[in-house]
């Protein structure tokens, strides 16, 4: 029997708990239940049989934790355990119509960026299980809490098997998983990636799951799976709270949400399944066929395209000297700073473009996507002209992104659309083709229609196609402005597609660009523009979108608008007051003032003068106060942070005047392999940078070779290593050893709470730095 045949039944009955059954038969806390598939197969087969007798159509093999990580200490391999478990399940199913599922639970380690398991490693771990369990009829992922981990698993399943895939995740009463994944994000991401059914298991009982299943059903028309616990456990006895009959009654109440697969999780046994079958026999299934909102997401934030949403345009090197420099130096923090600033400005989606001729765009894109997702929750728009770059980014993106872009050219359609489909993204379609951008609206609409038809044929839903009718520069092609607006209106109303538009281009070459941009933006919004790509840090632009949302009755009761502007007085914010000096701002931690004062100082002083005569002496003063115990660490970091503002102003000025950037020398810093404590290292970085050193920050958990390579590539004369645990001091010693073996001419300073000057000397470091202030003293000594 195949799942397709099974699907003709009204409901598909899954099994109940395996762990609960094994515990009642003497399994101890901390034991590995998967081992029993080899050591006591009869026990497992009997549990399977008891569920089959109770009415289960699918039973889950005893493979929940059968992964490389959890079986590390066990003498059997993943393959041996998975094969034995699947074979036991198949034996139990012999002579019945029941199917066997390969059951896959969480790996047990959290993925990056929260944890340190790499996405690619997670993929490999899942692949091993899937290949070993190829004899099962179905693949199930369950009890998942991290959408990113599910994505790794789902891709591994899709690419290494043709079996149907069911995914259930575990939600808390706050409607989110432990990692913050929402039901909407789960549903739209997994449906896009091609799961055959999705749902919820564990965590709560069927009564508490009501609002959770209700919410999930709003976001998908896939069959819904539920496998609840037997109520809630008593914290002392671990006994669950409801009876099989109550359980079944609560399940019945969930029927209206389109449940198709039903079973039980912790605390359930064959009686729960039997009672559930009885209740479902009296019900008619409900098939979901509602309209799903157009939306994209990260794992924690879903953005629906039901009103204009702001896409931030700033992560793009075009025409930006500092950005280009950052890309060449692999300065990911610069990009992250841009991301955070835009979100604070009001961006709801961020466009990410890191294309530059001399860099490895694919590698940089993957790094940028992962890093940006570690510090913001907004969904991303992956922006590249190269399909390989798009695919690499689509793989590692957590959630459902937008692909920017495809166009009407045959090659683009053939290369990009299959990627959009495979990874379940939304896509921007540019209304141009091999003949360029058509001057007239009609032709652009034709291209939009062509893109739509091709996308639909590829299986991409209409709600996920966003058309960009393309903005031309008003100064060069004044008459074309109105054509763009016409096209937007027709694509929106005639074709019924969502629209996206890069706005800022309109004013290129004109004075008072903001005025032109905001006016054009408002015009486009009234024509039906959904996704303006703008600079969200420009108040006039985000303000225009917010005002439009209010006036078009999207912002109900003007709540968002009042929340944003209600507390701001209409008086312009006071600029830096004259009596404050930069010294004073650095001492007192006045960030915004420092920026304004520096910019004023630069009118009369040379950049180097400001640095050497004001910034550094002020920092020295704060450093001395800190050493003497008059101020404490947060105050020192704050002063350094203010100095940073001054430095940023100075850098901007230098970038404008085309002078070479000034640096007192490069320093590589890293938290050593195995260690992920990086607060101290980051404080050191802030201080060093504000004394004018260029810091190449390799991050945390850094491989020995990466340190060596960075020192060599940058000709660094000083390296700073940090370790916070006695257990990672060995990695620090090994890193130093490798630097020495490679004969690199550099000094090494080390720091971290567990180090002593003696130990530093013993492992071959040149300097021991007891705090951030001292690392500056060392840098002065080594680099001047």
């Amino acid at each position: 029997m195949e799942l397709d045949t099974l699907l003709k039944k009204n409901y598909i009955i899954l099994d109940g708990a395996m762990g609960t059954m094994l515990q009642s038969q003497g399994l101890e806390a901390g034991d590995i239940p998967e081992l029993l598939s080899i050591t006591e197969p009869e026990k497992i087969i009997n549990i399977h049989k008891s569920y089959i007798e109770a009415g289960s159509n699918i039973i889950y093999a005893n493979t929940f934790g059968a992964n490389r990580y959890k079986l590390e200490a066990c003498k059997y391999s993943v393959s041996e355990i998975v094969k034995a478990a699947v074979s036991n399940a198949k034996k139990a199913c012999e002579g019945t119509d029941t199917l066997t599922a390969l059951d896959i639970g969480p790996i047990g380690q959290l993925l990056e960026p929260t944890g340190n398991l790499k996405f690619e490693e997670a993929y490999d771990i899942f692949k091993e299980i899937i290949v070993s369990g190829k004899d099962a009829d179905i693949i199930v992922f369950e009890t998942m809490t991290d959408l990113y981990e599910v994505k790794a698993g789902l891709l591994a399943a899709k690419e290494n098997s043709d079996k149907p895939i069911i995914v259930t995740m575990t939600f808390e009463e706050n409607m989110r998983t432990f990692t913050g994944c929402s039901l909407s994000s789960m549903a739209i991401t997994l449906e896009g990636l091609g799961a055959d059914a999705i749902g919820v298991n564990c965590s709560l009982g069927p009564r508490e799951l009501y609002p959770i299943i209700e919410e999930m059903s709003r976001w998908t028309n896939l069959p819904i799976v539920i496998k609840p616990n037997a109520g809630l456990p008593d914290p002392i006895t671990n006994k669950y709270s409801i009876t099989p009959v109550e359980f079944a009654q609560c399940i019945g109440k969930l029927n209206k949400f389109g449940i198709k697969y039903v079973g039980g999780c912790c605390g359930t046994d064959p009686d729960f399944i039997r009672e559930t079958v009885k209740v479902l026999d009296t019900l008619k299934p409900v098939v979901n066929k509602k309209e799903i909102p157009s939306a994209i997401c990260s794992s924690v934030k879903t953005v629906t395209v039901d009103m204009p949403r702001i896409i931030g345009e700033r992560i793009n090197p075009t025409g930006k000297k500092l950005f280009k420099e950052a890309l060449k130096n692999k300065d990911i923090d610069y990009i992250l700073g841009q991301a955070i600033e835009q979100v604070q400005g009001g961006a709801e989606i961020l466009d990410v473009n890191v294309g530059l001729p001399d860099i490895d765009e694919k590698e940089m894109m993957v790094t940028a996507i992962k890093a940006i997702q570690s510090v913001t929750d907004v969904p991303l728009q992956i922006d590249s002209t190269i399909p390989e770059v798009l695919e690499a980014a689509l793989r590692v993106y957590n959630g459902k992104p937008i692909v920017n872009s495809v166009n009407g050219e045959e090659e683009s359609l053939a290369n990009v659309l299959p990627l959009v489909k495979k990874y379940g993204a939304a896509v921007v379609g540019l209304t141009l083709d091999s003949n360029g951008i058509p001057p007239k609206a009609e032709k652009r609409i034709e291209i939009a229609e062509k893109i739509m038809k091709r996308a639909l044929a590829e299986g991409i839903p209409k709600r996920d196609i966003y058309i960009d009718c393309l903005t031309l520069t008003a100064s060069a092609e004044q008459a074309a402005v109105i054509e763009t607006l016409k096209a937007v209106e027709e694509v929106k109303n005639g074709l019924g597609l969502h629209t996206v538009l890069g706005v800022s281009n309109i004013s290129f070459g004109l004075p008072n660009r903001t005025l032109i941009n905001s006016c054009f933006l408002t015009m486009a919004l009234t024509k039906g523009l959904d996704l303006p790509i703008i600079n969200p840090n420009t108040e006039a632009m985000t303000g225009a979108v917010r005002a439009y949302r209010l006036l078009a009755n999207h912002d109900v009761n003007s709540a968002e608008f009042i929340d944003t502007y209600g507390s701001i007085s209409s008086e312009p914010i006071q600029k830096a007051s004259a009596e404050h000096t930069l010294e004073y701002a650095i001492e007192k931690g006045l960030k915004s003032e420092a920026k304004a004062i520096t910019s004023k100082l630069l009118e009369t002083m040379e950049p180097m003068e400001v640095i050497n005569e004001i910034v550094i002496p002020s920092l020295d003063k704060a450093g001395n106060e800190f050493e003497k115990g008059r101020i404490f660490l947060p105050q020192l970091i704050l002063s350094a942070g203010v100095a940073q503002e001054a430095f940023d102003e100075i850098k901007k000025k230098i970038a404008k005047t085309d002078e070479k950037t000034i640096s007192k020398g490069k320093i590589v810093i890293a938290t050593v392999k195995g260690d992920i404590h990086d607060i101290g290292k980051n404080i050191v970085k802030v201080l060093l940078e504000n004394y004018g050193y260029t810091v190449i920050d390799l991050g945390k958990d850094v491989e020995y070779e990466r340190v060596v390579n960075a020192v060599r590539e940058n000709n660094c004369r000083l390296v700073g290593l940090s370790a916070l645990m006695t257990t990672t001091l060995g990695a620090m010693a090994d890193t130093i050893k490798l630097i020495r073996e490679n004969g690199l001419d550099c000094k090494i300073m080390v720091g971290g709470a567990v180090l002593t000057p003696d130990y530093a000397k013993r492992i071959g470091a040149d300097y021991y730095s007891k705090d951030a202030k001292q690392s500056v003293d060392i840098a002065k000594k080594v680099l001047g």
Binding site: E28, A29, G30, P106, G108, Q109, L110, T114, G115, N116, T143, T145, T170, E172, N174, T177, F178, T179, G180, C202, P235, I236, N238, D333, L336, G337, I340, E341, S374, V375, T376, K588, G589, G629, R630, I631, F632, L633, P634, Q635, I637, L638, A640, G641, G674, D675, I676, H677, D678, I679, N682, I683, V686, M725, T726, T727, T728, A753, L755, T756
Partner: protein, 224 residues
């Protein structure tokens, strides 16, 4: 989920390196802002199990559990106890994400948040301990003993997580180098006895950090 209204300011300040007599007034508003944001971000959770125990000289056996606590220090710690509470608590991964964001945009806030979160997780452990002891109906308990302290191997973080099923119950995991993820988390063992046990305090003599401890150098105690 466990809630706290305020974070222990004195503790957090101590983690920040604050000593009596330092000028602090200017930092107050920023610390207040960080505290508010942190309290709105954390989703504290804890889980525990109570086991009967058999303390031996160099290890402690937990009944009905595959876990065996190793070392003479934990054995001495639990020597008068018939039971042990094995506890795990976390502030959730949202806390890590918040601090990571500030590491990019504002290092001062990142550092303050990190110290506040360290104070907060201890408060959560205090609450958990109180609630558990109340449900057991006793006051006769030892202080919390965690892996990495004395000669209880830090590698046992993983064993404790496994035996509590803490990954599934509260989303707590551990890296290959035995760091708990989410970062602001604690695992600990509390001995419970029939009879009164002397209210000892965690001492420095068996602490693996005693040579380098910043608090000790200042003549203070880490307070843990």
């Amino acid at each position: 989920m466990t809630k706290i209204e305020n974070i222990n300011r004195a503790e957090a300040l101590r983690y920040m390196g604050y000593k009596k007599g330092m000028e602090i007034s200017g930092m107050g508003p920023l610390i207040d802002k960080c505290e508010e944001e942190l309290i709105n971000t954390i989703i504290p959770r804890y889980c525990f199990r109570i086991f009967e125990i058999e303390p031996y000289h160099r290890f402690v056996r937990l009944i009905n559990c595959s876990l065996e606590l190793k070392g003479k220090d934990i054995s001495a710690h639990l020597k008068d106890c018939g039971k042990a509470i094995v506890l795990a608590a976390t502030l959730s991964s949202h806390t890590d994400k918040l601090i990571n964001k500030y590491k990019i945009s504002d290092m001062t806030s990142a550092f303050i948040l990190d110290c506040l979160a360290s104070a907060a997780i201890e408060q959560i452990c205090d609450i958990a301990e109180k609630e558990i002891l109340a449900s057991v109906g006793t006051d006769n308990a030892t202080w919390r003993f965690s892996p990495g302290y004395g000669d209880l191997p830090i590698e046992q973080q993983r064993d404790i997580i496994n035996c509590l099923n803490a990954e599934k119950l509260i989303g707590l995991t551990v890296t290959d180098s035995n760091i708990l993820i989410p970062r602001k988390s604690v695992t600990a063992v509390i001995g419970v006895s029939e009879k009164e046990i002397p209210k000892g305090k965690k001492g420095c003599s068996i602490c693996s950090m005693s040579d380098t401890c910043q608090y000790r150098k200042r003549g203070e105690h880490c307070g843990a």
